[in-house]
Amino acid sequence: MTILKSREAEPLGPLVNPGRVGGLGDVFRHRYLLKLLVHKELRARYQNSAIGFAWSYVKPAIRFIMYYWVIGLLLGPKSLENRALHIFAGMIMVSFFTNVLSAGTKSVVKNKALVRKINLPREMFPVASIAVSFYHMIPMYVIAIIGALLFGWNPDLGAFVAAALAFVIIMVWGLAVALAFSAMNVYFRDLSNIVEVLQTTITWTTPMIYPFSIIKDRLSGVLYELYLSNPLSIAVLLNDRALWLPTVAHPKVDRVTELPAHLYERGLAMLAIGLVLLWLAQRVFSRLEGRFAERL
């Protein structure tokens, strides 16, 4: 049997491979679908619980209170000026990232009904989970700004630059990790457990609950640099710079003790590394997605 495979111009376009992979760009071309998926996800997350959406804020609020009181008892009452704001500014970044991490990792497996049956750009699912985490974070950030204003927040230009940089770092790293992990999770389901362990680690390896000065005093050389090679640490410190530092009485003193040198440069370097990782993650995803439908 012979088959005509003419590829010349036709009203319906050329003959193409229906399974071609378009990557993240395809997600952008399906913006409307992305919007609907995000909306669905926001609705579904706490559909069957009595206080619904509020859970997303009750949980961090309780965590915040624990950090504040327990660490306050350990460090003594006068350990750090405006400590509550310091914790909260860090917590926003950490919980944004851990949300992206856990929801992103599960995103493809969770949508297996769609992945198995309908040909969509699969990057849609990790991207949608990041958008959902972002929406959850916005009200927390508003609360943080109100809190900062109560503490006499008087931001300079550096504060806004720092906040923007912190967000972009988390978005880029979060997208990279979500893409790679969501694809790997299809083949290796243990990954979601590993991610849970990772979340705990993140809480204690970023200067959120405790002030950065402790790290500065106790770590040096390689260990110090290792601590700062965590993108989350940089994002937390940048957000401290944005929200907390402008509220403390002697910023000159605190700037030296509470933040590492070259914070902005470190932030930009982190962003650059994140972009390289994002490119790699996209390649991993494209490589693995070929067998998604049969592995789910």
């Binding site: 049997m1 088959i3 495979k5 319906l12 003959l15 609907l36 669905k40 579904a44 439908a293």
Partner: protein
């Protein structure tokens, strides 16, 4: 006429891991046992369709029909050989695959429409027609989880047939729904056919295949054992004609 679908010497096998845990994997690897089972879901299948052709895929359960549809829709890719398609494909593989039980019928029309490739203006334009066809107007604001299975498939089918696709892939889409609605679906599928859409139709019902398709393809354990007219395909698959001839 232009070529719509090319399936060229397509082979697809699935690997199934024999063990789930690392411990078993290590034990089996050390003992030199086979670590995966592999079976050929499709074995060297070749056929082509012109735009406007309709073909019925027949065969017993597990013969590879759904795998073939998935390859044509692009959800899976072949191990060897090539699949090519022209134009927009409605992934009608299983009606309702993109429906969300937590959303209302109305919201599902938008979500499922977008999943099947419709744009926002396109869905807005077709919204009334989708609702009319499904006859689900009264239940639109109810969550889909509270729909009966018949209501669910009505809405899902209605959305799917409103996609302006050049190729429709259907897997047992008429297996559900009450008889009046089934007739309506049948008419709609014929209308799509008359408009020159390409149709790949998986069914266990010889009478439906005879009504909807000119051509037939029979798969047996992944191999194409017959390809030709729908009548001969029904004979080749060895099914006796069923009696649901009232589905006009």
């Amino acid at each position: 006429m232009s070529t719509s679908i090319v399936v060229d010497h397509v082979t697809k096998s699935f690997k199934i891991a024999r063990q789930k845990t690392l411990k078993r994997l290590a034990v089996n690897a050390v003992k030199g046992r086979q670590l995966t089972d592999s079976f050929k879901a499709l074995d060297d299948v070749t056929f082509g369709l012109e735009q406007g052709d309709s073909i019925g895929l027949m065969g017993l359960n597990g013969s590879g029909k759904s795998t073939l549809l998935k390859l044509i829709s692009g959800v899976m890719s072949p191990d060897s050989g090539e699949v090519l398609t022209r134009g927009r494909i409605a992934g009608l593989i299983e009606v309702g695959a993109g429906m969300s039980p937590d959303l209302s019928g109305r919201e599902n029309i938008f979500l499922n429409g977008a999943i099947l490739g419709m744009s926002e203006p396109e869905i807005n334009r077709k919204f009334d027609s989708i609702v009319d066809f499904s006859e689900m107007e009264k239940f639109l604001d109810r969550e889909v989880r509270h729909y009966s299975s018949g209501q669910f498939s009505r809405l899902a089918f209605s959305i799917a047939v409103h996609t302006d696709s050049d190729i429709f892939l259907m897997d047992e889409v008429l297996a559900v729904g009450d008889q009046p609605f089934r007739r309506k679906c049948m008419r709609r599928i014929r209308q799509l056919k008359a408009e020159g859409r390409t149709m790949v139709y998986v069914s266990h019902s010889p009478s439906q295949v005879l009504k909807l398709c000119e051509r037939g393809l029979v798969l047996e354990a992944g191999k194409m054992v017959f390809e030709g007219s729908a009548e001969d395909a029904v004979k080749a698959v060895g099914y006796t004609l069923d009696t649901d001839t009232e589905d006009d």
